[in-house]
Point group: C2
Chain length 361, copies 2
Amino acid sequence: MNDAAKPESRRITPVILSGGAGTRLWPLSRKARPKQMLALTGAGTMLATTAARVADPDRFAPPIVVAGAEQADEVEQQLAAAGTPAGKLIVEPEGRNTAPAIALAALNAGEDALLLVMPSDHLIGDAEGFLEAVAAAAPLAEAGWLVTFGVKPSRAETGYGYIRQGRQIAPGAHAAERFVEKPDAATAAVYLAEGGYHWNAGIFLFRAGAYLDALAAHAPDIAAGVREAMAKAETTGSRIAPDAHLFGGVRSQSIDHTVMEHAARVAVVPVDMDWSDVGSWQALHEVSARDESGNAVWGEALVLDSANSLVRSDGPLVVAIGVEGVAIVATADAVLVVPLKDAQRMHEAVALLRERRDPRL
Amino acid sequence: MNDAAKPESRRITPVILSGGAGTRLWPLSRKARPKQMLALTGAGTMLATTAARVADPDRFAPPIVVAGAEQADEVEQQLAAAGTPAGKLIVEPEGRNTAPAIALAALNAGEDALLLVMPSDHLIGDAEGFLEAVAAAAPLAEAGWLVTFGVKPSRAETGYGYIRQGRQIAPGAHAAERFVEKPDAATAAVYLAEGGYHWNAGIFLFRAGAYLDALAAHAPDIAAGVREAMAKAETTGSRIAPDAHLFGGVRSQSIDHTVMEHAARVAVVPVDMDWSDVGSWQALHEVSARDESGNAVWGEALVLDSANSLVRSDGPLVVAIGVEGVAIVATADAVLVVPLKDAQRMHEAVALLRERRDPRL
């Protein structure tokens, strides 16, 4: 790619996906107050921080936010409070995963819009590095590539999908040769040793039209279903509500499975940006400020003779004495204690709580 | 001692000391709701269980309860609810330790009364064993001995005082040769190996007059001060309130230091009664019902893949995953996490909370 081929630089439209309702950070994250609504590491919520990252009006249009109906009010309030209001808030009557959610935004933005699709609950330590990668990827996206941003693996993580890079297509950009599902530990170790593999961070840049075309090619039912739901959408101010019945009939599928793994012109732009999906208490401990004993302490807590632990209260006074490598998380109605190394096992507890329809989930 | 010397058996007056305000079981026990007010192991509170233990009207008169002013209402309610109302409730304007507290009861009961003095917050698994020891000790007490009940040490405990037994003075009864303060670990091990040492459980049987005489001999200021405070006591129904100013001027001293270590005729009656002062979370874990993994779980808790732990909630849902040998205690406004082996270190946290005048103490 040479400079002559580069189109006039124009504003990018951020698409912030705020539909997640993960429970890996239970009891802090709840169905009604998912991770992106929380201030986990800094002053702002993850949603507000995500919006602030792409708030420069010279480079970005106001964001399109896609959120669940239950969270719509809170999303609007958080973004308004942070001074980064959503340009459009698309309210999903129910979550159908990322492929339909992004299609909603793409249809609303118009075929020619350049979309930067981002989860609302990831942490990016080096925002400048991220923005530089976005700027570098823009010409590829303008040229019709579906660009993914690949994070350099720092460990043999089994919790993420990986992207195998292929031939170089521009400086710092490769064709994506293969998307691989969350690998087992041995496979992840091989990827790490081999190189050329990147973590799939779920951040994408493409023309709306390119995405919609690829979706129509590889999942025509989803493309058609979302288009019908949007044709009958109700608009109230900046809120857009797709038809609930029609959207409810759309298959629930991720963009990775539906589009990225199959489309022809998929690029990966590696980016070193101090990224974390903060997908567990262990991950939060790693990205948090810690004292000299390695403790990350938040809220009203008295931590004595303890090390390498995460102690967080959003309510009661927490007293920890002589603990090591443990997460202690307290809210007004629930308390979690789990060794950080076992933080992935949260899902077992959550499954049990779900089974008994616990209201504190 | 022969049968001819045995006086007619008569009713014993239990004296239940409910002035303690320990914080070793914080955050469950609070200044305003000390250990004796809590149901720690069974259905009833420790106070109610203590009263029930000596409620047989053939053997015992209604108890005299000595309690702090702050707890008086609650004491009355708990005992009434349990069907074992106090005969007299002596309300201490402020705590002055056991020597004055027992003197209050002794003056109220009258010189000739046989008093069984008991802390209100100890656990006795074998109540029959205890009552048999009391019956066996009664003739000694009638004869003027100050009888202590000695618990057979089961480990080299450093948290209790010890009583060294001397010559035998009756079947199953020895003169107390020496009272020793809480020993260090090495000394405690020697006591255990040597034998003839008993834990001082703070349970006593004596004639009121014998105690008052000994107190007058060894701490005449305390004896006189308490007598003056009782002379000006206000009586309302079954409540007796010693004069606050006069009682406040009395030295704060334990019965052990003031009387038992110095008096001439002190006896120790060993008793095997499955006793615990439940003085730490570890002690509570030991005396609690446990599941097959050794977990003592109380209240709303989900305990997964954990062992030998105490998990207790009086409020929030507690989820523990993969913990071992830990106490997790949650109330509506405070949470404690501490390894059971470090449970003695509670006082460090409590000291810090006291320093900052934390209202949750």
